[in-house]
């Protein structure tokens, strides 16, 4: 069959990968899909998908999630997409492409976007059963299937993709090895120092790295399946599976066969317009092209630029003459959870340049900046902490406004410089994947009325590819909004224009005790009478719960309307896990537990087959409970005297303790008793964010009280109270609020402190952030809660007394109430059927979620995409 050339000229695209898809979008944007017939030959069994995010398949993304192709787009633009039908030959004389199915397409313009293929070194045994490459979704499916019955895997190649592949093998439960010929990992991106930091971190994750050795032979058994590999140092590595990740080569065979010029080391030679040098009717873009600067680019951003260039050239639009003359090779990756970034002249090849290096191999940190003689930032490498990547990259090529040293020093070692994005020039590239400048982003805010990150993403495409620029994007948008005098809406959400603090005051002053009442009276105009949203419902539920006894609301968070407002976890009084099962955390006040208590927990966990772990909060977490098991488990726990640990709530978590004076030779007070007293006093107290505490028996601080929202350290004369500490993502040491307090003084001060925080903090604002934000900071808080400068201390104490007096255990309450219990089922129409997606597999003598089960019930993509 031959498709005849109609009145409309035809563009044939060979290869529907990431760059091919971007090319189609660029054609559509320029109106070319309306004036041309567009034919796409796609070799893979599915349309274009996000290859950059390929590995996220192993963390639960389905092939459908990875898809980059909106079938509606293909249809609206009348694009003919032939899936699973590659081009097999090109006749340039006749201007025809033949596909494997036998279809022949005549073209006016041919665009090759065939990408690369993984290079497999020619070692004996390379084609054995158990050898794989890592490029397509099909490769991943095959690896996953093969790994099911195997225990060890090895990756040949310690570059960027090799590390990703090794991480994936580890994720599949295999003991994983990386074999790299070069003396360090990621030899292209990082230097020796960076390689060392990376090596340490990766080894700490339990992967074995062999550098400086080559693979000589793949060893196979009688059936021809892999059993190991022989290395160049004479050793042999036993492995069941080998993934080759030793680089890629341009797929230029189709071009070679039809006589197009290709480079010495491969790649279809093109000019600055991405037109092949041999034939004006043929273009090549993406990883198969050898650009005019003599390079083949293995990254997606340059490919996107080439796609735009080719489309603009085909459109022959005089006003838009794009050229592609080279691209930046900056990359930022999260490999196995380690940040690695390199940008600009990372290896310092420029003449006379200098290095500024900060290295802490113990912490797996390595940061290097390459600086020119005149102070220009030329490039750099960041391993372990790439926070500054966005700003540093944007400053590359200019002299940064602060000293380079201050940019690489970690927080705490001298004042780290805060290089806000506002210091950047308008030409600075913020999103390198999509080549978007700061000027364009500002324009989106000022000229196109964008006010949020998603809006700016849509408007400019910035942030839509690797995502590494999204943080800077957010900062820029807010800075721009504030600068242009737009009043940044401080309201809680789309439903309320008040802040959380203002809502708290309204609820307390007017004794409003239902959400609907608050929304209908004080909501924004469009929101009154509506359903609210996922932000204000739990926030208001929390305010109502903190003030319940005072405003006449029920103190039970699942009562009446309150049940419908709670965050999903509070609604089930348990923490949801990735597969839809729940964790169970009984309160173990102060971390003190009797042998009987331990036995009961052990028996329950054993009887229900739960995974058990000692938490970082000095208690025991049981994982893997199905929703219908929660009441049964809790009935037994409550019976044995346990109560909810509120691990799910924005409320008091744990008050940790050290053993203190009773046993420890240094202890000066009974820290365990105080921790238990505090935990029992504040349990169940709903607050803007979770609250944590600890009590240490002496200044040695074994309970880490200074990292808590309120921490207590014993002194010879009583207790010191510290506030505003935080672990987590942004650790903060607590500040000393008062010294040498008696038991009563301590408790009174904590009562006031907590109630003042609950009253004035924003939603999801820990005490550490709150203390830094509120005007006057610690001094103001001390004035209010110690000196009673606002005259509200009595009220604060009364509110807390009401909470303490009215506390009831939520789980005990729930298991008594048949109506509430009816909710704990997987299916309303089949209460006895467990959710089939929740399953478990063994690991280290316990269970873990069976993740492959989660893809059940998922329609395969092919069926819907085929025409």
């Amino acid at each position: 069959m031959t498709a005849t050339l109609g009145a409309t000229p035809t563009i044939v695209l060979v290869g529907h990968g990431m760059v091919g898809q971007r090319f189609l979008e660029a054609l559509a944007e320029r109106g070319l899909t309306a004036t041309h017939r567009v034919v796409v030959l796609c070799e893979e069994p599915r349309p274009a998908y996000d290859r950059v995010a390929l590995t996220s398949y192993f963390s639960g993304k389905t092939p459908e999630d990875l898809s980059m192709t909106d079938m509606e787009f293909i249809e609206t633009h009348g694009i003919e997409l032939y899936i699973g039908d590659p081009a097999v030959s090109v006749d340039r004389e006749a201007k025809q492409v033949t596909a494997r199915s036998g279809q022949v397409f005549e073209y006016e313009t041919l665009v090759l976007a065939t990408g690369s293929f993984p290079f497999v070194p020619p070692v004996p045994g390379k084609d054995a059963e158990g050898c794989f490459v890592y490029r397509t979704i099909e490769d991943l499916l095959a690896i996953e299937e093969y790994a099911k019955t195997r225990t060890t895997g090895a990756v040949v190649g310690g570059g960027l993709l090799g590390l990703e592949a090794a991480g994936a093998l580890k994720g599949l439960g295999l003991t994983s090895h990386i074999v790299e010929f070069a003396p360090r990992l990621m030899p292209v991106q990082v230097d020796e120092g960076g390689g060392a930091a990376l090596l340490r971190t990766i080894e700490d994750m339990g992967l074995t790295v062999h550098t400086g050795v080559g693979t000589q032979e793949i060893v196979v058994d009688a059936e021809g399946a892999v059993t190991g590999m022989k290395l160049s140092d004479g050793s042999e590595l036993a492995t069941d599976l080998v993934v080759f990740s030793a680089g890629v080569r341009p797929r230029d065979q189709l071009a070679r066969d039809c006589g197009l010029t290709v480079g010495e080391r491969g790649g279809i030679t093109v000019d600055e317009q991405c037109r092949t040098v041999s034939d004006p009717h043929v273009f090549a873009i993406g990883e198969c092209a050898l650009a005019s600067d003599g390079r083949v680019y293995g990254l997606v951003a340059p490919g996107y630029e080439q796609a735009e260039t080719a489309a603009a050239t085909i459109a022959a639009d005089e006003s838009e003459q794009l050229t592609f003359t080279g691209a930046d090779l900056s990359t930022k990756l999260k490999l196995l959870g380690v940040d690695v970034a390199s940008f600009g002249d990372a290896h310092g090849t420029a003449e006379d340049c200098l290095d500024v290096v900060y290295s802490d191999s113990r912490a797996g940190l390595y940061k290097k900046l390459v600086i020119g003689r005149d102070g220009t930032l030329l490039g750099g490498i960041l391993v372990g902490d790439a926070e500054a990547y966005g700003t540093l990259k944007a400053f590359t090529g200019s002299v940064p406004p602060v000293s380079p040293e201050s940019l690489v020093l970690p927080a705490g070692a001298g004042a780290p410089a805060q290089l806000g994005p506002s210091a950047l020039p308008d030409e600075a590239i913020i999103c390198s994947c999509n080549n978007v400048t700061k000027g364009t982003i500002r324009g989106a805010v000022t000229d196109h009325q964008c006010t949020t990150v998603p809006e700016v993403k849509k408007c400019t495409k910035a942030g839509t590819t690797c995502g590494s620029c999204v943080k800077v994007l957010g900062q820029l948008i807010n800075a721009e909004l504030e600068a242009s005098g737009v009043e940044v809406d401080k309201g809680l959400c789309g439903c309320f224009s008040q802040t959380r603090e203002e809502l708290y005051e309204i609820v307390l002053a007017l004794r409003i005790n239902t959400y609907q009442d608050l929304l209908d009276r004080y909501g924004r105009d469009g929101a009154k009478g509506g359903d609210g949203c996922e932000i204000c419902k739990p926030a208001v539920a929390s305010i109502i719960a903190s003030l319940a006894p005072t405003i006449g609301a029920s103190g039970y968070v699942l009562d009446g309307e309150q049940a419908s407002l709670q965050d999903s976890n509070d609604h089930f009084l348990a923490n949801i896990q990735k597969n839809g099962s729940y964790s169970v955390v009984p309160r173990i006040a102060g971390g003190e537990i009797t042998p009987e208590g331990l036995i009961v927990i052990g028996e329950i966990a054993r009887d229900f087959g739960l995974y058990t772990k000692i938490t970082g909060g000095q208690r025991i977490d049981m994982f893997g409970a199905r929703v219908e098991q929660l009441p049964l488990i809790w009935a037994r726990l409550v019976d044995a005297g346990f109560e909810s640990g509120h691990a799910y709530g924005k409320s008091l978590r744990t008050v940790k303790s050290c053993v203190g004076q009773t046993w420890c030779r240094y202890g000066v007070q009974d820290s365990v008793r105080m921790a238990i007293d505090l935990e029992l006093r504040y349990r169940g107290l709903r607050s803007p964010h979770k609250l944590k505490s600890a009590v240490s028996g002496c200044q040695r601080e074994c309970a880490e009280a200074q990292s808590k929202d309120f921490g207590v350290i014993a002194t010879a004369g009583g207790w010191n109270l510290y506030v505003g500490g935080n672990g987590g993502a942004t650790p903060r040491h607590a500040d000393l609020l008062a010294q040498d307090l008696s038991d009563t003084e301590l408790i009174r001060l904590i009562d006031r402190f907590l109630m003042f925080y609950i009253r004035t903090a924003d939603r999801l604002e820990r005490t550490s952030v709150w203390l830094e934000r509120i005007p006057g900071g610690l001094d103001h808080v001390r004035d209010v809660v110690v000196e009673d400068s606002l005259g509200i201390c009595e009220e604060l104490e009364t509110l807390m007394a009401a909470h303490v007096a009215n506390y009831r255990d939520e789980w005990a309450e729930t298991i008594k109430d048949p109506e509430k219990l009816a909710r704990f089922v997987s299916f309303i129409n089949a209460p006895d059927t467990p959710d089939p997606v929740v399953g478990f597999v063994p690991e280290r003598d316990q269970i873990k979620p069976d993740l492959p089960l989660l893809t059940i019930g998922h329609r395969p993509l092919e069926g819907s995409a085929q025409r």
Binding site: K61, D70, D531, E534, K578, N579, F827, I828, N829, V837
Partner: protein, 117 residues
């Protein structure tokens, strides 16, 4: 527990191919919260009821995380459109169209649903 007579016998039904499948009593749907139901073909549907009494039914599976948990998410409205936010990573889905409000490329199945005596 006493219930108003006019609501006691109302049933929630979901349209499957040609037939309406009865899932539960209307009273089991708390305004602002969801429940899940198992369909004969093994799929799971998440059912919701809003404050105005309107019913919605969408696929129960969170397409991002894979678990069947959308029925346990928080509901609300955004620019006048009803949505549920996944309890896993909080992506929101339009209850009428199944469109993910935080990722244009993602849309989940929806079902026709009614209450009937």
């Amino acid at each position: 527990m006493t219930l108003a007579p006019e609501t006691t016998d109302l049933k929630v039904q979901v349209l499957l191919d040609e037939d309406w499948l009865t899932v539960c009593d209307l009273t089991r749907l708390l305004p602002g919260r969801g429940v899940a139901a198992l369909l004969p073909d093994g799929n799971q549907v998440a059912l919701f009821r809003d404050r105005a009494g309107q019913l919605y039914a969408i696929d129960n599976r969170d397409p991002f995380g894979g678990a069947a948990v959308l029925s346990r998410g928080l509901t609300g409205s955004h620019q006048g459109r009803p949505f549920v936010a996944s309890p896993l990573l909080k992506q929101r889905f339009d209850l009428e169209t199944g469109q993910c409000l935080d990722d244009e490329a993602v849309r989940i199945a929806t079902y026709e649903v009614r209450s009937t005596g």
